[in-house]
Symmetry: C2
Subunit: 336 residues, 2 copies
């Protein structure tokens, strides 16, 4: 497995995306996000997505020449239209608006409409934490979870992310989808002909199943069943009803031929200076973290990603031969 | 079981709370909330709590003469100090601030510090939906969930609630705690000497257990394990680090002698008029609901509560004899 630097990987990925039709800025923003996810150990949102993005750009499901625009500003809120392009430029624009408005008004809420797959959700919040601001992010995705009691996939995996800046340390990073497990995990069980635990998925009749193959034709369970489904509904309203985007059930799967997804995302930013004040916030947060870590075995959310990223910046990343070959082919290059 | 009207029950409950030391306004606000929860079928947050509130008022863990105050206002945010009283007047004050600020700035975030048990969380958001505004609420509680990987209860049950106003129909209401099940449910299993399913709780060594009795000396599992624990962390920061309240792990159990809880809550309000606009919001939301309900077996979150409440307003509520006797004793009355 060849070892490549972050810079080399970003360059190669950006070249592949440009070749598929993305503008220089869009390609650069997407490449950066995908390589960071790979570095963080989130390979499902990393280089494995490059081929998919290229296909969507070629098929016009993602518009390579789209330029995101702030289409509405009101007080502490704004709405960004991604113009049907890849999500990353639009998310960066939304985050910039969110930080500025949170600093001015104490809190801000920025919606993004007409967008596409946003990758690892917490990635977008890094500048929020950098600015000393608390950030939350929400997104929908093509449907994966049944409405509670139903037979058909209705909600997306609908991730929720949050960053909590610390004084003199890396921020606490929360990033999770609302499904009990990923579809990828169930595929591994199906391949090995192993039963899955109760509670992971339902079959295409909406009934709980331990048959991995039946689960793959059905839907994923939300965390806590009815509770996670309710949280998924909340994410749909925040990302879609408020922004005018398309609901999860209106999105075709990314992996089959289909429509422009018109995904919605939302960013919430809160300036700790606004309420009890920055001093109270930073000192209370450290007390929480110190108490938490006194219980042996507890690790801080986000710490693993941060460690892996730091190592990747120093040592580069080992990338499987097949992955490199795919990237080179997409980039139209013979070698790195 | 006697049948009492909502009005009778509120009067009786308010009298009990006043007798324990609550001001007229505090007693009235708390009684209203407890009886509504009872009417909604949420008996765990209903009349069963009256005796506990009275005890806390008598012991000074909740201050009956406290007057909540807005102690800070900045742009779209505000901070309410509950003054150590019961939560309900402070929450109502915070919600009023949140609605006004959301109407003006598009979004608002209001923290509440120095508070007490807030009952059924979604209750507080009813005026938000009434004003045509989207509302979310968060609260901590005395610790119940281990930090992921830990041995000791650290986070509260940390409920999340949301209301989504509809055009010409009751709002959609989401209201859930982040534990897989309630402690009460495990107590039923322990009483019947039945094993609990894997995933509900851990023993006092932090290990998964199916022994209901071991679970009761341990901690509750969060929905989705590590995921729900991360959401619980998010709720702690929003309700406590930002407001200066006490963390869940700093609260003594309500059911044993202990400290003033100094609980934190947070209200987020978003005006649909601010982003894609009210028309887009209401029409998109109805499309979501109609599509959802086409899948047989699906019911709308909040619908059951609304139906039960409507019935209670018409028919009154059947209350167990022992519960009535307790209320009468607390209120110092011989009969209703």
């Amino acid at each position: 497995m060849p070892q490549l630097s972050i810079v080399q990987l970003v360059e190669l990925t950006a070249r592949a995306l440009k070749r598929a039709g993305a503008s220089r800025a869009m390609a650069q923003a997407a490449a950066q996000a995908l390589v960071v996810a790979e570095a963080e150990g989130l390979s499902g949102h990393g280089l494995s997505r490059v081929a998919l993005y290229c296909r969507h750009l070629r098929e016009g499901r993602a518009l390579g020449k789209a330029k995101p625009k702030v289409v509405r500003r009101k007080g502490a809120t704004a709405l960004v239209d991604a113009g049907g392009g890849l999500a990353f430029l639009a998310c960066a624009m939304a985050v910039k608006e969110a930080i500025a408005r949170a600093k001015r008004y104490g809190v801000s809420f920025v919606g993004i409409t007409n967008s596409h797959h946003m990758g690892a959700l917490a990635y977008h919040l890094a500048p929020v934490a950098q600015a000393g601001v608390v950030g939350l992010a929400f997104s929908t995705s093509p449907s994966a979870i049944n409405a509670w009691g139903g037979k058909h996939a209705f909600y997306g995996t609908n991730p929720i992310a949050a960053v909590f800046p610390r004084s003199g340390a890396e921020p606490v990073v929360v990033d999770l989808s609302l499904t009990e497990v990923t579809r990828g995990k169930i595929m591994v069980y199906a391949k090995e002909d192993k039963p899955i635990p109760v509670g992971w998925a339902v079959d295409n009749d909406g009934s709980p199943t331990t048959d991995a193959k039946a689960a793959l034709t059905g839907s994923l369970n939300a965390i806590g069943g009815v509770k996670g489904a309710a949280l998924a509904l909340m994410v749909e309203v925040l990302c879609v009803a408020l922004t005018g985007a398309a609901f999860s059930f209106e999105n075709d799967s990314y992996f089959e031929p289909g429509n422009k997804p018109r995904i919605g995302h939302a960013i919430l930013a809160i300036d700790p200076a606004a309420l009890a004040g920055s001093d109270a916030y930073f000192s209370r947060l450290e007390i929480m973290i110190n108490t938490m870590l006194r219980d042996e075995g507890v690790r801080l959310p986000g710490a693993r990603r941060q460690k892996l990223t730091a190592a990747a910046h120093t040592n580069g990343l080992q990338i499987a031969d097949a992955q490199i070959a795919e990237l080179l082919a997409l980039a139209g290059k013979k070698s790195v």
